[in-house]
Subunit: 430 residues, 2 copies
């Protein structure tokens, strides 16, 4: 089947899935969870094939680790589905209810977006997570995983589609793409696909954004900042900065640039250097920083760089407003934090920093759908349209306006025979 026909079928099924009730979707999720457990051996065998081939092809160790889908990962995936079943259905919520006039009632009701194209990295658990999030939110989905994981992805996708169909979900609501060419074709199908979620490297996300009319939800850079104010507690700063930088360096919410108030720099930087160097972090500093501690000299480019590595750039600033300006100029709108004892300054920072996630006295690493309590996430968005920050079920729905009348015509209002009442209705009536 060609890509356009595949997308058309997913679209068609998605229109039916949009009207599926919560019970049906939850039954399908339960069937998927059961099927994952039942076919554990097969799945692990497929994954072993992927692992062996990838080892032969010299895939780097961290990627091999992400590719692995063993008993523990499978149990986690099943747990994830069970908690998804427990989450509220994001579809069918009445956001607004207004009686425009006697017998003319307007309801703004959430509904699925439609068809979502997701391109994800080599972790096979991402496939399970994304497919089940789309199912719970009533969306059709085109899934494209890393080619390293092709055997695992194939069995997982087959099993999910089969189990959902057995529970009564419209066939074709999900499909697996297997080639890069299919992705390129998908990007042209704005007629059938409503949203693309690319997960992966900066270059990859930018490529997707530049090659499609379809809206893109995601993030390219994650250049996260921490600003240490003159009022910061030193011990807290050392702990939070070390966590933000080193707890996991290869992720988008890891700290990349530290901004330090000039008055606290002499006291902070020496112990900070000691603490971070103990964790193998290389420091890259502005000229003022270099006057206090030895470090590599920073270039203009460093302030725009997402290292994703054991590296931290440090800049000394004159105060809060300079820190805010630096973040709004060089940041990527992902996650930025302030450490200060002064509540008013913290609020000012959080008001003026134009990022999806603004934090006070805690690590940037908290910026994550699970930690936020969303149950799961399809990605993190640095866009300012639709969804921002970690995106869970709520980010996969939009709404439609339903207007219920009894023969009402506009001419009665245009000619002033009738006037609108715009009375708020109880939203539970929707």
């Amino acid at each position: 089947m060609n890509m356009e026909e595949l997308a058309r079928r997913v679209k068609e099924a998605s229109l039916k899935l949009a009207a599926a009730d919560t019970a049906l979707k939850n039954r399908a999720l339960a069937a998927i969870a059961a099927s994952l457990s039942d076919r554990e051996e097969e799945i692990i065998r497929a994954n072993r094939e992927d692992l062996e081939r990838s080892e032969r092809e010299k895939l780097p160790a961290p990627l091999l680790k992400r590719l692995k889908f063993d008993e523990a990962k499978l149990a986690e995936a099943v747990d994830g589905i069970n908690s998804l079943i427990g989450l509220e259905d994001p579809v069918g919520k009445t956001l607004l209810a207004t009686e425009l006039d006697d017998g003319l009632e307007l309801y703004k009701v959430t509904c699925p977006i439609g068809v979502i194209g997701v391109i994800f990295e080599s972790r096979p658990d991402a496939l399970v997570q994304i497919a089940t999030l789309c199912l719970k939110s009533g969306n059709g989905v085109l899934l494209k995983g890393g080619s390293e994981a092709r055997e695992t992805n194939r069995i997982l996708a087959d099993l999910i589609i089969e189990a959902a169909a057995r529970a009564g979900v419209p066939a074709n609501w999900a499909a697996l793409l297997e080639t890069r060419a299919a992705v390129n074709e998908m990007l042209q199908l704005d007629r059938y696909i409503d949203l693309v979620i690319p997960r992966g490297s900066n270059e990859f996300v930018r490529y997707i954004m530049d090659h499609s009319r379809i809206p893109v939800l995601g993030h390219a850079d994650g250049i996260c900042h921490c600003y240490v104010d003159e009022d910061a507690d030193l011990e807290m700063t050392l702990r939070v900065v070390a966590d933000a930088k080193t707890q996991y360096v290869a992720v988008c919410n890891a700290l990349e640039t530290l901004l330090v108030h000039e008055r606290i720099a002499p006291a902070l930087l020496p112990p900070l250097k000691q603490a971070l160097e103990a964790k193998q972090v290389t420091l890259i500093g502005c000229p003022q920083t270099l006057q206090i501690i030895p470090a590599e000299p920073a270039s203009e480019e460093d302030w725009r760089t997402e290292y994703l590595d054991y590296k931290l750039s440090i800049k000394i600033v004159g105060g809060l407003d300079e820190a805010i300006d630096h973040i709004n100029s060089y940041g990527s709108g992902h996650t930025d934090s302030i450490i200060t004892a002064d509540r008013e300054k913290a609020m000012r920072f959080m008001d003026y920093v134009d990022s999806g996630n603004v934090f006070w006295n805690c690590s940037t690493r908290f910026s994550d759908g699970f930690r936020y309590g969303f149950g799961a996430e399809v990605g993190i968005s640095t866009g300012k349209i639709h969804s921002r920050g970690p995106v869970g079920l709520d980010g996969l729905v939009i709404y439609k306006y339903r207007l219920l009348g009894s023969g009402h015509v506009v001419d009665d209002y245009a000619s002033r025979r009738k006037t609108f009442k715009h009375r708020k209705l109880d939203r539970s009536r929707g």
Copy 2:
């Protein structure tokens, strides 16, 4: 000043405006309303210049009518601003509040989108409406109006920017663009502009969508349908269809295609023809329609055409599901209605038709921000991301996550020394 520098300044001001409180924004709106009234004579003089020049340049009469900005239009604009002052501030609303753990509180709070580029038609009242909506929602705005209205736009923009600045709004939050070249430059400035709202012809909207990485909110086609079910009341159908088709033909929510259940067609079509022809409507029918009433034969192209004229295409269908399929295939996702006495069928129609506005027993012409009670609208969106249907103040905001801790680090949770609690908090605490 070049366009990039202009956009950069608006962006900078918008970051400050984002944190402005409701009182300041409302004071600025009141100052704008007062200034409009004070300078009535000057404004009307500028508009007379535009009208005279446009008459000499043989602008068609309907466009001249839209260009006119007289005492009555000015009074309406002032009324509009006063009602906008009364509307709730869309910024700073807490959408979600969760205690992630002791002393670690997450708030999801609405905030402005940033900088919005609006390109609007020749009506000068659109400038006032859009600028004041952006101000109330805390957004910076680049305004580009029709060149016919250049003198009127210039004085209105000057006066609005001046009055807002006097009230204390950051200078540069708004700017007027005057050339088509400026629009093209604007479309490249995704670094500074967060959303583009084009109002105008299909071709124009599509051009914008194809020439920018900036997200676009708006609609190209408005191919609105009405499906008349076998259970429809005939008298109601005649009234609603006449209103939807003829109350104002040149607008996006006017009816373009009528779908008729085959069982009601013989009874409906003859009186419908009589009623619509009395209003000068030309009928264009499918082969089955032509067997019942004389009409022009419809081609495949007719089902995809937005006439914006006294023309209506008519298709006879076998029932509800065929009507839904037709609408989802040929429609534009704008506004579609069903006329039926059967509530269950109406609900099925509204569930399965994938449009921003789905109506039961009323005219498609109700699809409008004022009629919906939003106070004002910046446009109508047929996109499925962010905002759908008529877009008022709520469509001009997004949110940010604010996380307040006291030294919390992720490593405590990753190593299971601590666990998340995810307790719902009272949203009023945000």
